[in-house]
Subunit: 347 residues, 2 copies
């Protein structure tokens, strides 16, 4: 299945399917003088046979560890050491973190070299679309980066078969978010299809739908001045939680989505979300909802204020759902404190 972006120009294709990796890499490589690979070291170990055709990859530390400034510099220097040129092509193979950091390396080495995202996790179906690149700062996640579109995304679903449970739960967080952005009904269909656990074959159609939902939003608002903010649904608290407790991004997103549900109900003063229904579903799938009970609210607020979307002091920007319509609201810090206290006590 090929999904094409719909920007006014410089479009690219998101290829989704089983066993498509070799063919697509070969096809894209033809147009370039030299090819480079940035690969998550763990992915490289897990898929040694499939990736054995790659002779001299730049291996990065696995997962979030690839997003430190030091690791970024090391990767860029390795690419230069290996003789990268402006008309080279870089394939970035790994999960969301590898994609973010590899994309940032590609966008800044020699002031920008073409690159292709090869996501290997469920989560990366999200981050590989939209052309945002990022590394982490000592002051928060994703605070350093660029907007730099890939030349293509090759999403070979074979990679998903080796995902550990915690990664599956993490990636599912973004899938769930995309459905919720569409409508509560769509989310409920997904819930029905995963009542007995998350199985990759059942998810394929939701992955494609999720990519399309995201594609449509980022096409309209590439540089996040309006609608793109909606993709941040659940993320404001999620970033603070994962920064503090160091658990997988998409799992934190589920916790953030649950917090968003309770805040939306309060903010709009109507019962948009059936909280016990969602709580039980998330709990039964194994999400660590207990962090919502344990969190230090002062600390969460301090971390949330670092968020790039915040424009005003003493206010925190949140995406809420007004029934099935996402809305960006700047909420007073004091109100947020109340909402989070209530949430904490309800658990």
């Amino acid at each position: 299945m090929d999904i094409k972006t719909t920007y006014p120009s410089n479009n690219y294709t998101i290829h989704v399917g089983e066993s498509i990796l070799h063919h697509q890499i070969e096809a894209y490589s033809k147009k370039y003088d030299s090819i480079f690979y940035i690969i998550d070291s763990r992915v490289y170990d897990l898929h040694k046979e499939v990736l054995s055709f790659i002779k001299s990859p730049v291996l990065t530390r696995s997962g979030e560890a690839s997003k430190t400034p030091e690791e970024y510099i090391r990767v860029v220097e390795s690419l230069l050491e290996k003789g990268i040129k402006r008309n080279s092509l870089i394939f970035v193979i790994g999960g969301g973190a590898t994609g973010d950091a590899g994309g940032f390396s590609a966008s800044t080495v020699l002031r920008g070299v073409d690159y292709i995202q090869v996501p290997t996790t469920l989560l990366a179906h999200d981050s590989a679309v939209g052309g945002k690149t990022a590394i982490n700062s000592a002051h928060g996640k994703n605070l350093i980066g660029t907007f730099h579109r890939p030349k293509a995304v090759i999403y070979d679903l074979d990679f998903l078969n080796t995902l550990p449970e915690s990664e599956l739960l993490s990636g599912f967080g973004e899938v769930f978010k995309h459905m919720l952005l569409h409508s509560r009904d769509k989310a409920k269909t997904l819930i029905r299809d995963t009542e007995n656990g998350i199985l990759i074959p059942d998810l394929k159609k939701y992955l494609i739908k999720g990519i399309e939902i995201k594609r449509d939003i980022v096409t309209e608002d590439e540089h996040e001045s309006g609608k793109r903010k909606f993709l941040n649904l659940g993320h404001t608290l999620a970033h603070a939680l994962e920064y503090k407790y160091k658990f997988p991004h998409g799992q934190a997103v589920i916790l953030g989505l649950y917090a968003m549900m309770t805040i939306s109900n309060e903010f709009y003063q109507k019962s948009i979300f059936d909280l016990p229904f969602y709580y039980e579903y998330f709990d039964q799938l194994g999400y660590p909802l207990h962090y919502l009970k344990e969190m230090d609210i002062d600390e969460m607020i301090r971390l949330m204020k670092q968020d790039k979307k915040n424009q005003k002091n003493d206010y925190i920007g949140f995406i809420l759902m007004n029934d099935d319509t996402p809305e960006f609201k700047e909420i007073e810090e004091i109100k947020i404190r109340q909402y989070l206290n209530a949430l904490k006590e309800s658990i």
Copy 2:
């Protein structure tokens, strides 16, 4: 004097004049919620009174020392520490190096924040125009960076009065290059006006002309796929020389221009440049031409091959002057070796 860029969109103004700093900073600051300053620490010391209105600047190591990856990360973390937001504005105050590195910080913090270049050297009349940002790699100069236009350039010529002789010589290298790109006649007029030394008041009209020449080239070819390469006149060898011998950039450019003259004469097999005339002029102004005698040619070639403009192995891209027309030529390594040997022996 205001010079406006002529891109299809997102144009900006280059303000050139005496004592324009305060007024312009005030005017641009009005449109933003918060203002940040990245300032070369030496410039800040030298101009403490003029800059005393700035309360909490991010001071950077002076000159090229600001362009290490470590210093880049430190500056970005300081901006975040001080609470920079997406709708903040950054003024980058300093020479060419500060502008390059400060521009890179601005273009990557929070995925890009608006910035204004405030060049304080002669050299920076060049680097502040065109929207290239850069830091240095262990493998060569300017190998990491972005294309990111400033919102304006404020070129207050008062800063030039405190320039030490070596900086004056350095900046003059790019002024001379711009005139040569226009024509040998233009270069000769500049030579006539500087026979008795380089004086700022005499240079003003050449600075403005230089900015216009550069502006016209970068407008036509922002991302350096064609004509913009011409601005690299003299730079291929210059980058290698300054990397090796650590002397000011623009001084190396003069040496590189002299090498370009000898290569152009050889390559086109006609006497385009009167070599003894230029040699004597550069020598009398005090340029360290002796490095052309001392340089290790193998090492220079190795360093030149790192240049971003090189697309093919065993060839090095040079900008040559065919009479008054700049041309990009990919020259075999073996030929370059011959040319440089001949140059070395002629000195």
